[in-house]
Amino acid sequence: MIRTEEMLLNVGPQHPSTHGVFRIVLKIDGETIIEANPVIGYLHRGTEKLAENLQYTQIIPYTDRMDYLAAMTNNYVICHAVETMMNIEIPERADYLRVLVMELGRVASHLVWFGTYLLDIGAMSPFLYAFREREAIIGFLNEISGARLTFNYMRIGGVKWDAPEGWIEKVRDFVPYMREQLAGYHDLVTGNEIFLNRVKGVGYYSKEEALDYSLSGANLRCTGIAWDLRKDEPYSLYDRFTFNVPAFDSGDAWARYQCRMAEIEESLKIIEQAVEQFPESGEVLAKVPKIIKPPKGEAFVRIESPRGEIGCYIASEGKKEPYRLKFRRPSFYNLQILPKLLVGENISNLITILGGIDIVLGEVDG
């Protein structure tokens, strides 16, 4: 018999595949993982503490830094929470703009995920293809908000800027283009035998486990639970659009991949419909008080971000700053299942599983 010895391997916080400053301490025997201990907090910026001394509008830029790949949904969740508390009506045009930018953000976010996931698995080209399309989306969002990632676009009661001249048309033209590219991705990646071998059956968990670990988004839908807050607890204008909630029931990295790719298509459908229904004119910011003071009490709202269920809890004392602000950050919850999934896997699968969960460290660490 060969005598083997366990070895501690420190993956991260600086590692190409941990997507930021995530660290995971592995106990390995050969390449087999015996135990995994995730260590997070390297990117903790104390957003919630800072928010206690900021007015509501001032908090919005901080939310951009949480999930920096889909900052629009983060913008939305805090606005939505305050609007729910104060019962503010959003002008229709503003609501459409919100839906458009959120869905564009979702497509962009999934594209980053697609690219980096394939990069993790070892294919370099899809990354660059995905980033080409993402670049177009970032361009749209830049045009409307003035920033490429940290948009700070939404305001309580609407959005900051109206869509510039010709913007809607550009977005409309983007949809068929993106569909075409998406078909290209499927040609390049989805049928690739090596890719299938890498993802099929990897990182499996059951429906019950997914619920038990509070997973959300594609991580939940990959187990066959077709749950999407856009559909099931409609907010904004999502009840006006026809779209599906893709769900696959194999519960592995392959199902998660399929889910996200299908979600891009669904988002495109929503964008298409939103562009069609887009009001020709109208206000983009409701008449809200200069200083926003939600009534005393607390509220928790949750919406569907590209990574899952993002929630915002506000405890208000009726002052202009929140008494307590708390974000339910989907990446943080989704990451919890990782140590469980890793036991018995090898290091290559660590990358596949971690990538499949689709975390953004800014969000994990808050």
Binding site: E31, S125, R198, I347, S348
Partner: protein, 334 residues
């Protein structure tokens, strides 16, 4: 001229001439490596919608690699404190030397060759195996867990893939009846062996990519898993040696594939007026392009799948190829 030298009795003069020729070849190979790296970056850039190097040396970045090499030369040479120093220094040399040695056996045209070994093919395979030792040594000596894993993967992979690689050429040896690479090329005057033994050709191509540690078989240095694998602790020119090894092997392997399966310097029918060396260069470039293409397209395999693929798929197919080749030889070449 070379043939005369090879057949005449040895002496100091010979040694000097061969040394000169060797140095020449080294320069040619380094030149190739320089531009192979550039070509790879350009082709990949083209496939990945980006320009690739385009600043140093004109708009095609012709001097980019030269600048890179210069940078590597003047970079600080670091050796980790806890590393096994002698092995750490020896490893890059041990990895690179065989890469250059194998070139001696490869004929580039019927006149341009540096040796005429009767066991040329065997020589190539035997010598190239030594590189594994260098890589394993680098992985071990670095005293880094990632490099150790990379080194181990590398050893397992290269040993596994050497077997289908060797067996897949048995068909070619049967057709030509020789291990001498020149004679193998001579045997393909009418038809290239890739047509006679397509199975062998495919197995050889796959195994050769695995031998070269290139995508999709680049596990030993999988940057997304093992950061950089066995050479994670190397910097400066020691690191450059590993890169050099990789590209020299690319050169050697592409040349060997050309010789074994594509008919070497034999022209395509009716185009015999083009010199053999050009044909060789064309076929050779085709193989290099193919390998870059594969790199631009494929994701990476997983370690266990890689092993499974070698032993459960490639090896049986290579064995089948021997049988099929024997049948083909009996039926058509008799």
């Amino acid at each position: 001229m070379v043939n005369d030298l090879l057949t005449s009795p040895p002496g100091w003069m010979h040694a000097a001439i061969f040394f000169g020729l060797g140095a020449c070849l080294l320069m040619i190979v380094l030149g190739f490596v320089t531009y192979a790296i550039l070509a790879e970056r350009k082709v990949l850039g083209f496939m990945q919608l980006r320009p690739g190097p385009n600043r140093v040396g004109g708009r095609f970045g012709l001097l980019q690699t030269v600048a890179d090499v210069l940078k590597l030369l003047i970079k600080e040479d670091t050796i980790p404190k806890a590393a096994d120093k002698p092995l750490f220094i020896l490893a890059p040399v041990l990895a690179f030397a065989p890469a250059f040695m194998v070139l001696a056996a490869i004929p580039f045209s019927d006149h341009l060759k540096f040796s005429d070994l009767s066991i040329g093919l065997l020589y190539y395979i035997a010598i190239s195996g030594i590189t594994t030792v260098g890589i394993l040594m680098a992985g071990w000596a670095s005293n880094n867990k990632y490099s150790l894993l990379g080194g181990m993967r590398s050893a397992a992979q290269m040993i596994s893939y050497e077997i289908p690689l060797v067996i897949s050429v048995v068909g070619v040896i049967m057709f030509s009846g020789s291990l001498n690479l020149t004679e193998i090329v001579e045997g393909q005057k009418t038809v290239a062996y890739m047509f006679l033994s397509p199975l062998g050709f495919i197995v050889f191509l796959i195994s050769s990519i695995a031998e070269l540690n290139r995508t999709p078989f680049d596990l030993p240095e999988a940057e997304s898993e093992l950061v950089a694998g066995y050479h994670v602790e190397y910097s400066g020119f020691r690191w450059a040696f590993f890169m050099l090894t990789e590209y020299v092997y690319l050169f050697a392997m592409a040349a060997l594939t050309t010789v074994l399966f594509l008919g070497g310097w034999n022209p395509v029918p009716f185009l015999g007026f083009i010199p053999g060396i050009i044909w060789f260069a064309l076929k050779f470039s085709l193989i290099v392009f193919f390998m870059i293409w594969v790199r631009g397209t494929m994701p990476r395999l997983r370690a266990d799948q890689l092993m499974e693929f070698a032993w459960k798929v490639l090896l049986p197919v290579a064995l089948l190829n021997i049988f099929v080749s024997a049948v083909v030889k009996e039926l058509f070449l008799r």
